[in-house]
């Protein structure tokens, strides 16, 4: 879709594959089966994280990039926030 001029943020846990296939805007998710989820968090914490994730994805589509770029969300916090 990028090739057709639609900036696209890819949210995925398999970041290296996304890089390999050349996705220019990558936002790392936390688990393969739940790219925009994190069941290890409490529901409120998970929603808050998801909001930050989508915000980051929006940042990504609004940013000029030259090659596969990873837009990190948070520094790691696994347990209940």
């Amino acid at each position: 879709m990028e090739r057709s001029g639609i900036p696209t943020a890819v949210i995925t846990n398999l970041v290296t594959i996304a890089e390999q296939v050349g996705a220019p805007r990558i936002v790392p998710g936390r688990g393969i089966p739940y790219p925009s989820g994190d069941p290890s968090l409490s529901p409120q914490a998970e929603q808050a994280w998801r909001r930050r994730l989508v915000q980051r994805a929006l940042d990504a589509v609004a940013t000029a990039v030259e090659h596969p770029t990873i837009f990190e969300v948070d520094v790691v916090e696994r347990a209940d926030a």
Partner: protein
């Protein structure tokens, strides 16, 4: 550490009889005893069958496969399951080479596979050429599948030891001394130090591989004594992707370790074995791979061969390891199965490394035509082909047990074959 010797007894034929007995390459399997070794509240009943190479038999839904091995009356094989982990190591391990014990039948999260003992698929599975003792089973009412699966595993291991026990006093066919890997610092005379990294699946119930009876999930990579793998320290509880599965038998007969030993002292120094979990999360995959490369370097490896277990997810771990090794100036070669589609024109890999080199173990999607057979064990219906279990069917190579063996047991590879897109058969270029 004391050395290990393999005392090999070659099995040429099998039969079911009243009591277990080994004589001159012929094994009699005592039916009652074998069944009794499976007694467990989780199993209502088991049935013992034989399937020999060349038999017109198809084994449906094969589960784990174990090579009969025993360390004699003192025991010691399969530490963590049949023997305490802290037992006397080394010594002699008796092996019934050419025989295999396996369970077959429905288990949830077992992706249905098959073994044909005759026809074109027989040479695609290592178990199409072994003399197989096949155990069919029924789960007990009220028992969970997990309990049944554990009961099956214990039964298989018990029978494996029991059968090998029958040969303990027989004159061996060969005695194989297994030298330990060379310690780093040992003069190599210019030979490179080559080791192997084996990734083990660690995804929980029905998708786990046990080391000393425990899952490696959450562990960091570790150097491991190959003699312990010979003794059955690595046991499979993983049932996904039949062609890409590494049953216990293939850990006991680890092909890469065997090939490294074959050239040890001549072309290389066998430097050791590293076992790693295959985490499900990207961050953990990266940590494990970085650590594995560091560990190989610390152990003085010049090169490592990397093996996996599973499909696309596991390819990620392969890719990260090869890249990490090469970035650390170690030469890396990985064993990958290709997924180029039924006509072979798709891109072979999704998660390939940037550097290093790859051995292909065949094409997952390539179709194989199987003839009808006379009997089927393990089921009456082949669900993946929606056909009768004995019918002539066409299946992808993916369905044949260990056909694409990521441990390198098979002789399949892929070669590029120039073909004109859409060219009809018979047209000349």
């Amino acid at each position: 550490m004391p050395a290990l010797r393999r005392i090999v007894h070659q099995i040429h034929s099998l039969e079911i009889g009243v009591s277990t007995r080994y004589e001159q390459h012929h094994l009699v399997v005592g039916r009652d005893r074998a069944q009794a070794l499976f007694e467990d509240p989780a199993l209502a009943s088991v049935r013992v069958h034989i399937a020999a190479p060349g038999d017109p038999v198809r084994i449906i839904a094969p589960l784990d496969v174990v090579e009969p091995r025993s360390k004699g009356p003192a025991g010691g094989a399969f530490p963590g399951w049949m023997a305490p982990v802290n037992r006397k190591r080394g010594g002699d391990i008796h092996v019934l080479r050419g025989a295999a014990v396996l369970a077959a039948g429905f288990l949830p999260r077992n992706q249905e596979g098959l073994i044909d003992m005759s026809g074109p698929a027989a040479q695609l599975s290592p178990f199409g050429r072994t003399n197989n003792i096949v155990i069919e089973f029924d789960r007990a009412d009220g028992a969970s599948w997990q309990e049944a699966e554990i009961a099956l595993r214990r039964g298989l291991l018990r029978v494996a030891v029991h059968l090998a026990d029958a040969a303990v006093d027989a004159a061996p066919d060969t005695v194989e001394e297994l030298a330990p890997p060379h310690r780093p610092g040992t003069p190599t005379g210019g030979l490179p130090r080559v080791g192997v990294i084996t990734n083990l699946q660690t995804q929980g119930a029905f998708k786990d591989v046990f080391v000393y009876g425990r899952s490696m999930a959450g562990s960091l990579p570790t150097l491991f004594d190959p003699a312990e793998i010979e003794d059955g320290a690595v046991v499979s509880g993983q049932y996904g992707h039949p062609a890409l599965r590494n049953p216990t038998y293939l850990h006991q007969n680890h092909p890469v370790i065997a090939e490294l030993r074959a050239r040890d002292g001549r072309d290389l120094h066998f430097a050791g074995v590293v076992l790693c979990p295959e985490p499900v999360q990207q961050g953990d995959k990266e940590l494990v791979s970085t650590h594995a490369a560091w560990l190989c370097r610390a152990a003085g490896f010049d090169a490592a061969i990397v093996t996996k277990e599973g499909a696309g997810n596991a390819d990620n771990d392969l890719m990260l390891k090869v890249d990490a090794l090469e970035a650390d100036d170690l030469t890396a070669v990985a064993l990958y199965a290709e997924m180029s589609g039924a006509d072979g024109t798709g891109p072979p890999l999704v998660a390939g490394p940037r550097r290093g080199a790859i051995v292909s173990t065949g094409n997952y999607d390539q179709r194989v035509a199987l003839p009808a057979v006379e009997r089927a064990l393990g089921g009456t219906r082949l669900r993946i082909a929606d056909a009768d279990a004995t019918a002539a069917v066409e299946v992808p190579t993916a369905a044949i047990l260990s056909a694409l063996s990521p441990l390198g047991a098979g002789r399949l590879t892929c070669r590029p074959d120039e073909q004109l897109a859409g060219l009809q058969l018979g047209e000349t270029a």
